[in-house]
Symmetry: C2
Amino acid sequence: MNRLPVAERREQLIEAALAVASRDGIDAATVRAIAAEAGVSLGVVHYCFQDKDELLRAMAHAITSQNLARSLGDLPERADLDTVVDGVIDALWTGISESRGPQLLSYELTTSSLRHAELNQVAIEQYRGQWSAVEQVLELIERTAQVGWTIPRSLVARAVVAVIDGYSLAWLVDGDGEQARAGLQGFGQFLKTLTVPVALEPDVDERAAVGAPDGATA
Amino acid sequence: MNRLPVAERREQLIEAALAVASRDGIDAATVRAIAAEAGVSLGVVHYCFQDKDELLRAMAHAITSQNLARSLGDLPERADLDTVVDGVIDALWTGISESRGPQLLSYELTTSSLRHAELNQVAIEQYRGQWSAVEQVLELIERTAQVGWTIPRSLVARAVVAVIDGYSLAWLVDGDGEQARAGLQGFGQFLKTLTVPVALEPDVDERAAVGAPDGATA
DNA sequence: GGTCGTCCTGGTCGGTTGTCCAAGTCAAGT
DNA sequence: ACTTGACTTGGACAACCGACCAGGACGACC
């Protein structure tokens, strides 16, 4: 096989691990299976990574980076609240429903991280990334539809991630994507009731919310 | 060791498997670990169960039965909507937050079921049980607070399970139980907006909802 | 008290896993 | 041409896994 500098070989192995784990589950992502998927021999893996855990951590990190990059890819123009919220939810759910394997893998990674000490940081990084990504989407909604929130934005983001997780899990189990999409759209309706229009200023930086003056966001 | 009829030994092994898997994760629930936890020798497990998978399926079934029984245990008396909804959510979250291990195990079981063909039925049974349990709780709310729903009850149940799953996952990851409780209470507020008061009849059997005349519940 | 079916024991087997290592291969620099 | 260092190879190892089995121990029933 062709020789590669260790940095590129690492990325190739990370992609191979991602492919195997997404297709066959995290338990099937053995060192041998990953090496075979990448088309390299067994020893290469431990030449590029000290542990199998280091490879899995790198794979998880790649996932969160991808998610964060993907969620910020689709940015609509100026539109009213209904259009932008429905559009964001629709794009988001389409992205999820088209990647069943990776979505399931992310839950496997979460549970594994919560059990095995050597993967401890994986889950929290995963969720910190999701929360902050959703917060950025929420900021985009604020700017696009000229609204603010009646509760702190971080709480809204947490709720969004929770609802998405819940409906995604249900969809993974029973395969009913239409019901999941409908449920998320219903949640979108609820989200709109948490907004208040904000008229002035082309860029509202912060504290666009009314009421709830005890912002405890760190 | 004392001799037991195979039926009782099976239940003991199921409990032992539940204990090991809740404490150390589903991967740690090996045949040897379960036998050691139960205080029996290795061969007993394959004497009582044909497969390890059969034992795991029995364990999963025991979990869903417990959950279903537990969720119907706490039934308040006649009260107004705010009291009963807040009370149900509080009791439900208390039950979850006091059993971190089993809660995490249920997610491990779900993902494992979705990957391994021999556990295929586990996840769907798990969720069918949860959906129907929540539906029964919703019926209890209807009777207690004299209300109906503006959308089909099954969709409400699905939303409830999804939101609980999402906040539970977040809580498992970051350990912030207070934020999870607050988020669920906020969802409870939203739930109340989906209700309509229903005045007459001591027992309203079905079709207490207004609008949405296309009931598609099978 | 002897017999028979139920239950238990502990070792063994083949297979898989992560990890390691001695040797081999290749390209670049002198 | 030769050396040096980076990269690759494939086998070996111990540990662990689920599954299996020959045999021992126990209690109930005739």
